[in-house]
């Protein structure tokens, strides 16, 4: 049986996200409770959580979460890390032994910052340097896999149901301003943890429900710009597209949603001339990043969360607001289980990105030095 990355595996899924606009830190319990309501949308072959604002004490450092298959891989990977980073902390990610989660690899976390000399001689900006190091490890160091590489955030994933994955990683002990969760229903028997969601590059994480029909068009385009797609999953390619459009081309998340889930020509043709020209531009210059086929995604990034459906809304997704908390999930029940009397719940139209961001004060507080 081929592993994820050696073959392409379609899968269905459940997603859920919770975001505090005021930056109030919540424990990981709520999102676990939410995703567990949608148990039947997963089949136990992959689950995971992304959490933001969880490492305030190390927020200046990249938190590298890495799976090592064995000690040899770990040694090779750490040698690489030491050549490229100043590592201020390296430890096991704490886990709880539970019967539902088995065959775990070595799961390590490194807080690190690029070595100044290495960074300078690479002529790259810091984030690009870190991204490339993550690609290098995933591609070249057999048995090691970086599955989280942002600052003050982290991804926790495994083969199992998401609620079990949450318990396994002791998510209740983490506090953050944003959590997303994913339960997976892949159409095969994967043996590998790296294939679970969320998928992450730097602080950008994606949980995704769907199977995109534009996959290979998107993949072959994004690979041209230095994003080797090793996992062959939709989520991987979506993450890279979003990273490329935001980090390298400077698009806002709202603009990105207009590119990847663009309005139909029939709508664009009816727009005011100036607006029409803009959308023609998106669809002409960046048409290779249009994503078709069913998807609902939650994109986490520093200080924000975006919920987005494909333009035909071929996957269910609802969002809601309660006070300053923003919710998004595959099913309304997954929101109501946390907030039964929620202020407002709605189903965004296909292609309409809904972005929640930290209030300016909260963002400032997040970035401020302790």
């Amino acid at each position: 049986m081929l592993l994820e990355g050696q073959t392409r595996i379609p899968s269905g899924c459940a997603i859920s996200g919770i975001f505090s606009r005021s930056g109030k830190r919540m424990s990981g319990e709520a999102v676990i409770k939410s995703i567990s309501v949608m148990h039947d949308r997963s089949n136990g072959l992959g689950g995971g959580i992304a959490a933001y604002g969880i490492y305030p004490d190390y927020k200046e450092y990249y938190a590298l979460h890495i799976f090592h298959n064995d000690v040899a891989a770990k040694t090779a990977c750490e040698e690489f890390l030491e050549r490229h980073f100043d590592i201020v902390s390296a430890s096991n990610i704490p886990t709880r032994k539970i019967p539902e989660i088995t065959d775990e690899p070595l799961i390590w976390r490194y807080f690190a910052t690029p070595l100044k000399t290495k960074l300078a001689s690479s002529q790259l900006d810091e984030r690009e340097f870190v991204a490339r190091c993550a690609f290098r490890i995933n591609k070249d160091i057999e048995g090691s896999y970086v599955f989280s590489s942002g600052k003050n955030m982290g991804v926790f994933k495994a083969v199992g149901f998401p609620e079990d994955v949450g318990r396994f990683y002791k998510l209740e002990e983490y506090e953050g301003y944003c959590f997303t969760a994913h339960g997976r229903y892949p159409t095969n028997t994967p043996g590998w943890w790296g294939g679970a969601h969320p998928f992450a590059l730097l602080d950008c994480t994606v949980v995704h429900n769907g199977e995109i029909s534009s996959y290979d068009a998107n993949r072959r385009s994004i690979e041209m710009y230095g994003y080797p797609c090793t996992l062959q999953t939709d989520t991987e390619v979506i993450t890279y597209i979003i990273d490329y459009l935001s980090r390298k081309r400077g698009f806002s998340y709202e603009e990105i949603s207009d590119i990847v889930a663009a309005p139909f020509w029939s709508e664009i043709d009816k727009m005011e001339p100036e607006k029409k020209k803009l959308y023609e531009y998106y669809r002409s210059a960046f048409s290779q990043y249009l994503i078709t086929g069913p998807f609902s995604i939650l994109v986490g990034f520093e200080g924000g969360l975006m919920a987005l459906n494909d333009r035909l809304k071929l996957r269910s997704m609802v969002v809601g607001n309660h006070g300053d908390i923003f919710y998004a999930a595959s099913e309304e029940a997954a929101i109501r289980v946390i907030e039964p009397d929620i202020d407002r719940v709605w189903a965004p139209s296909g292609g309409q990105g809904v972005v929640a961001r930290l209030n300016p004060d909260a963002l400032r507080a997040l970035k401020e030095d302790k």
Binding site: T7, R8, P10, S11, G12, T187, G210, E211, I212, S213, S214, Y215, D216, A217, N218, R220, S221, E223, M224, Y225, Q232, R249, G250, F251, E255, F264, W265, S266, K277, L278, E280, Y281, Y282, R283, S284, A285, F286, S287, Q288, L290, I291, T292, G293, P294, R311, L312, L314
Partner: protein, 503 residues
């Protein structure tokens, strides 16, 4: 009595129970195959002059005629086929180079027919084009990835010139001279109605057709026929013709007999003079020279029109395309070895060049490997026969395709492959006024519109089945393709998996 070494390939079979001696066939045949015997009130036929164009068959009111392949035969010989033998006889007779028309008809692999498409089942839904929007619009031109913003951070949505196509299919270069005025009018009007483009070929643009300029691609070829300021100004895009799939490496020759008054004025050459296109452009002996012509044309058109460079698919096509992409061209057009022609030396047509499917895949892969695929659009041509071929071409990596033969078939062409003799009974590949008027542009343009409309429906159905509702998401989407009966090397070049392999 002279010896006639060559027995006709085809025989005209007349059913005298049906023939009413109306002599329609006699009047229709410009090759004078049919003749009337007054005394017997009987029409007879001479197979020797028949080109098998079906004009008489199509117009016979009683369906009394049919054309059959002759069963006259040589002694069977795997090496010395009738074709090989007859060609020897012809050359021994004349001492000349053999001429042929239209694309290579020989038995080489047709990769389109060995590629199958995907469809959605269970894990994602197919999309019904009758219920949901299904988009076939594409823009051809360079896709700069640099995003410009004004001081307020607003995006400045400026792009280098683009061609907007409502359907990723265009009518390929066929010159006025090689085809008739009425054929050109049909193509021009259909392009306008369909929101696509036709291509003048190297014969200039007839003054009557300047009104179709917004849907016209004008060609600048090695003969530079009919190239002048207004010609460039009239067009939506300018195509530099470096080569043609049917005859890579050689030029063209339009015999003086076809250069009548109109063609002469349009081409800016004397009436009755042969129009010879040199094999190379004599100002382009290398890639850096091409760059100069590209920019000369851009200067001449104030950088407002995309410049296309058309090349024949030859062995080194991927590297050549890479050079062109770096030469400032906005669009590369690749013409495969089965591409059509009004006339080409048979040996060239049948033996030079490579299949468009392999050339297209190699070019798309190469441009991506070099990270420059977004700098150019790619047009594939050379025997795109139906909507499925279009879909497969796009999935292999084309932005759009050119069709020539398919368009001519819609106008009535029966692929008799004798365009070179200039007596086209269907009024297409001829300049003889009585023949030209047989092609009614009112009917011709409508048939082209019908054909493209039908293809559009079919493309939409196939896309919908794959769960794709925008043609951009099909471009280069090779996972939607599977090969059948192809070897490892072919699959590798095409960049596709074999049927039965999962993703």
């Amino acid at each position: 009595m002279a010896i006639n070494y060559v027995y006709p390939d085809y025989e005209v079979v007349r059913n005298y129970d049906r023939c009413i001696s109306c002599r329609a066939c006699e009047r229709q045949c410009s090759n004078e195959v049919h003749s009337f015997i007054e005394e017997e009130n009987k029409v007879i036929s001479d197979d020797a002059d028949c080109v098998n164009c079906h004009r008489c068959v199509s117009l016979c009111p009683t369906r009394a005629l049919k054309i059959v392949k002759t069963d006259h035969t040589f002694k069977a010989n795997a090496s010395w086929s009738a074709k090989n033998i007859n060609e020897i006889y012809k050359q021994a007779d004349t001492g000349g180079v053999l001429l042929s028309s239209m694309g290579n008809p020989n038995e080489f692999p047709i990769y389109w027919d060995k590629i199958l498409l995907n469809a959605s089942q269970v894990t994602n839904p197919s999309i019904d084009p009758l219920r949901e929007p299904m988009e076939t619009r594409v823009y051809l031109g360079a896709k700069s990835q640099d995003v410009k913003r004004d001081k307020d951070g607003k995006i400045i949505p400026e792009m280098t010139p683009q061609l907007k196509l409502d359907l990723p299919v265009m009518f390929s270069a066929m010159s006025y001279g090689s085809i008739s005025y009425n054929a050109h009018e049909s193509l021009a009007r259909a392009s306008k109605e369909l929101g696509i483009f036709y291509n003048t070929g190297e014969g200039g643009l007839h003054e009557d057709f300047y009104v179709y300029g917004p849907n016209t691609i004008v060609q600048v070829a090695s003969g530079r026929f009919g190239v002048h300021r207004q010609y460039l100004d009239a067009a939506a895009a300018v195509e530099i013709k470096m080569g043609q799939g049917a005859k890579p490496g050689i030029g063209g020759h339009l015999p003086g007999a076809k250069i009548g008054e109109d063609v002469s004025r349009t081409r800016m050459i004397p009436m009755g003079a042969d129009a010879i296109s040199p094999a190379p452009h004599h100002d382009i002996y290398s890639i850096e020279d091409l760059r100069q012509l590209v920019f000369s044309l851009k200067e001449a058109t104030a950088y407002k029109k995309p410049v296309i460079v058309k090349i024949a698919a030859v062995h080194n096509v991927a590297a050549i395309a890479s050079g062109i992409a770096r030469s400032g061209a906005d669009i590369i057009s690749i013409d495969g070895f089965r591409g059509g022609t009004g006339a080409a030396p048979t040996r060239i047509r049948d033996n030079v060049g490579i299949p468009i499917e392999l050339a297209l895949a190699a070019v798309d892969t190469r441009l991506r490997d070099e990270g420059i695929r977004d700098r150019v659009s790619v047009i594939a041509a050379g025997s795109v026969r139906n909507a499925a071929d279009v879909v497969k071409a796009i999935a292999l990596g084309a932005d759009a395709v050119y069709i020539g033969t398919a368009a001519l078939l819609a106008l009535g062409c029966h692929l008799c492959r004798t365009c070179n003799i200039g007596k086209c009974n269907w009024g297409i590949a001829t300049q003889v006024p009585e023949l030209v008027k047989r092609l009614n542009p009112d009917v011709g343009y409508k048939r082209l519109v019908n054909l493209m409309t039908a293809w559009k429906h079919e493309i939409e159905e196939m896309m919908g089945g794959m769960g794709i509702n925008s043609i951009e998401s099909l471009k280069g989407n090779r996972l939607m393709l599977r090969g059948v009966g192809l070897n490892e090397k072919e699959l590798e070049i095409l960049g596709i998996k074999h049927a039965g392999e999962s993703a």
